[in-house]
Symmetry: C2
Subunit: 201 residues, 2 copies
């Protein structure tokens, strides 16, 4: 009743975003009303193109542009195909790429094992990782799951069930702060963690 | 290079919002990629309709639905047309309406006087307020600008230059915390401020 429908609609849609409450949503909405019209328009167009413009890499399951089977990293001849770094989310790839210290390929699991949230091995790209390892060309798998309970459980599971014994299995050094989120780690911490990676028993 | 264009586009557009940095923008973007597709779509549609679906009330300059000359408050026969409450922004109207303790009309200035930011009387709806007061039907003007330096200056200016002497001029009681923002005040503070409003010397 108090607000015109188009405004209430936008406040409601913004409130559904994580970390955005009704007050912040109102603020953003009235900011978009006040500022030049292109801001709301640009955002609208970008949102509309988000799903249609993106696809999942058929090899590593990272996000890529629509119409591409392989992401630029998998398609690049300059990357070391004998090395695969396993991460939970696409943002983790971004964080590792930003260091400039890694030249292998990736494998994006799409999350971590979590019995509490009902995430099992079948919900992650575990079988797909095994398939990638079967032709024997991959010499090392670096596990770069988050340094959390779920990340540890996922690493353990991969060691026991997924990665063949013939493949060298390493894990990012524990320079990473426990309970943190990989994508928030600073670049030097990530570089040190890459350099100091340890063989799993 | 690292991210597909549609994703970078959305991160850039979100980063331009006040209080949203690149990290938050990335988080929101990947949240929208992960969650069901309707979230991004709903937001896109709501943003596209924001400007086209809204208009400014010709009388009080509050936000209203497109195609309406008057907002629902100005158009209502139940509101006391002898009483005008002057506020800075449309969100202030929402805050006052939420108290349920005010039955008059509003006048939205569109900001406050601020020499530092170059906002003068001509940038606000001052002349339009004077026009509304000229037929003598309005008996009281309640100034509800923010309890800040700019809000105080705006109130002073209206007392000296805008509101005729024949009209009773009042101001919200200083139950409001100084330096704060009207829209963040809690309802009981706003109610007490309405009830304890003081005549300006």
């Amino acid at each position: 009743m108090l607000l015109p429908e188009p405004i209430q609609l936008l406040i409601d849609a913004l409130s559904r975003l994580p970390g955005v409450g009704p007050k912040t949503a109102s603020r953003l909405t009235f900011y978009l009303l006040r500022t030049d019209a292109s801001a709301a328009q640009d955002l609208s167009v970008a949102l509309a193109g988000l799903r249609s413009g993106t696809a999942t890499c058929h090899q590593c399951f990272n996000i890529t542009s629509a119409g591409q089977d392989l992401c630029p990293i998998c398609a690049s001849p300059d990357r070391d195909a004998a090395l695969i770094c396993v991460v939970e989310e696409p943002l983790d790839v971004v964080a590792l790429e930003r260091t400039g210290g890694y030249k292998g390929l990736y494998h994006v699991l799409g999350g971590a094992l979590s019995p509490i949230e009902g995430v099992g091995p079948d919900d992650l790209k575990m079988a797909e990782l095994l398939t990638r390892l079967q032709d024997g060309k991959v010499k090392e798998v670096i596990i770069a799951t988050n340094p959390s309970m779920e990340g540890d459980a996922t690493a353990m599971y991969m060691q026991q069930q997924v990665v063949p014994n013939a493949v060298r299995l390493t894990r990012l050094a524990r320079g990473l702060p426990m309970g943190g989120d990989l994508e928030y780690a600073d670049q030097s911490t990530l570089l040190r963690a890459l350099a100091g990676r340890q063989a799993m028993s």
